[in-house]
């Protein structure tokens, strides 16, 4: 399978199964419309006929030979050898946990998927005892894995920061004994950040996600406080201080774009100009009937905007202004192995979410949907059959993914979005796919442009 497209002056050909990315000229780009595997060593008459007159014969033969050469070394129309590995996907150790330390929030963001913080389950905070049980559960179920991840999530985790600190200390106390390494992350709206909290986060958290949507008017429109006022003026200086003191450790300023700001390149640039160089601004995923929702009708505008953003990034980098946009990050040589790419996020199998009541869900996006509950820490229940079912959700058991050129980049997308909007974890959420494919095309184009110099 190949995927080819023309973007920003580049003819790009992706060989899906080998992962090869080729930047080609117009002749090869068009010739590939007439070439199918198995590619023959000798240029077929039909190809000659199609291009003679427009190109000289030597050029046509030469271009065809290059196509054959790539085919011959397995970088064009390469075979799909991966399905055998997909068949071996079984229960894995649990290595990552989203700890819902607070089902409460001090903001009332219009688009919140967590029903303004409580996930529809009532406002409450996780106790230290429940958090300890979550850590014990993670250690018990992570046999064979050394690196464990725990994200302090909410609601707003800073509303229960005392317990966060206690749990970090508890987890660290178990690392040596169990041969584990905890990597903590925290996702915060910033309202309650203080110097002490900033110092603790910067010391203990391997990554921190700072929620802000970009320009003041964009952020304040949807990220409002309980009294209806905006949060931008409170959080911006706190985030700037945190990042200034953070040094080389990972962080992201993380925004959501909605129908209200389809010109989100301006928000990305605003965040960069405010001093942030690790930026993620992502599409809202929501019921299409809601006023801020992105729908299929918005796609042409969003696609143009992603192109604008990609071109803007290239221009900035050329001018020595470097920033990283999360969804355009792509490591074409040293990225994750193909096995990882088959199964993606690992939700419900390698990754679970824990609520303040100790309920276990496949991931944070499923929390509050009772029918997806997998167990509870208090009564010791855990649905291993459901875990096994999630373990087999991979790009070869998702019919739309199996035939998609982007499958080794998105790895089957978000199972929760698939369930919530298409009714099945194995049916790809089309809108998310369309956006993801466009982002990938832009990300690869950036690589192509940088490779061309």
């Amino acid at each position: 399978m190949i995927h080819k497209y023309f973007l920003n002056g580049y003819y790009i050909v992706l060989d899906v199964n080998s992962g090869a990315i080729h930047v080609v000229d117009e002749l090869i780009y068009n010739m590939l419309d007439l070439v199918e595997p198995p590619v023959l060593p000798k240029c077929p008459q039909s190809v000659l006929n199609a291009f003679k007159g427009r190109y000289n014969l030597d050029e046509i033969y030469e271009a065809y030979d290059e196509i054959y050469g790539l085919y011959d070394i397995g970088q064009l129309y390469s075979e799909d050898d991966y399905e055998q590995f997909a068949g071996m996907m079984v229960n894995s150790p649990i290595k990552a946990m989203c700890l819902h330390i607070a089902h409460d929030c001090n903001l009332r963001c219009e688009y919140c998927f967590a029903s303004t913080g409580d996930f529809g389950e009532g406002r409450r905070l996780m106790t230290y005892e429940t958090g300890k049980k979550a850590i014990d559960f993670l250690i018990e179920h992570s046999q064979g894995r050394r690196n464990l991840e725990m994200d302090f999530f909410g609601g707003e985790p800073l509303m229960n920061f005392g317990v966060v600190k206690q749990l970090v200390e508890y987890a660290r106390s178990l690392e040596e004994k169990h041969h584990k390494k905890f990597r903590f992350t925290i996702t915060t709206n910033g309202m309650l950040l203080t110097d002490d909290k900033i110092d603790f986060i910067n010391k203990e958290m391997s990554n921190v996600v700072l929620s802000i949507d970009g320009r003041k008017e964009v952020t304040d429109r949807v990220r409002s406080r309980v009294d209806g006022s905006g949060c931008y003026d409170v959080i911006m200086p706190k985030f700037q201080k945190l990042v200034e003191k953070r040094g080389p450790k990972d962080y992201y300023v993380r925004g959501t774009f909605t129908k209200y700001n389809l010109d989100f390149t301006k928000d990305v640039l605003h965040l960069y100009d405010a001093g942030f160089d690790q930026i993620s601004v992502e599409p809202v995923v929501s019921d299409p009937a809601l006023p801020y929702s992105i729908t299929e009708n918005d796609l042409p505008v969003i696609f143009d905007e992603y192109e604008t953003l990609a071109q803007t990034i290239l221009a900035c980098r050329k001018a020595g202004r470097y920033f990283n946009f999360f969804h355009f990050m792509l490591d074409l040589d040293q990225g994750p192995c193909a096995i990882k790419r088959l199964r993606g996020c690992g939700c419900g199998n390698e990754y679970v979410a824990i609520t303040p009541d100790g309920d276990i869900y496949p991931c944070h996006q499923f929390v509050g949907q009772e029918e997806w509950k997998m167990g509870n820490l208090e009564d010791g229940s855990f649905d291993k059959e459901r875990k096994a079912d999630f373990a087999t959700a991979n790009v070869y058991t998702k019919p739309e993914c199996k035939e998609c050129w982007a499958k080794f980049y998105c790895s089957g997308g978000c199972n929760a979005n698939n369930q919530n909007y298409e009714g099945d974890i194995r049916h790809a959420h089309k809108l998310s796919c369309d956006l993801e494919k466009k982002r990938l095309e832009c990300a690869i184009m950036i690589k192509a442009a940088e490779a061309q110099g």
Binding site: I21, G74, Q75, F85, K95, R146, E282, H327, I339, F408
Partner: protein, 46 residues
């Protein structure tokens, strides 16, 4: 080659044989929390 420039090592198949250790970051833990991109994750063994 005159008409093609290949910009990466195309080592996906090789990675399947050596891969699968499971030590790398869960993709949803990095920044997104709503939309997966897996290809931007780092391999823990390189």
């Amino acid at each position: 080659m005159k008409h093609v420039k290949t910009i990466n090592n195309a080592n996906l198949k090789e990675s399947a044989v050596k891969g699968g250790c499971g030590e790398c970051q869960a993709s949803c833990q990095s920044a997104c929390k709503t939309s997966c991109t897996v290809a931007n994750q780092k391999c823990e063994n390189k």
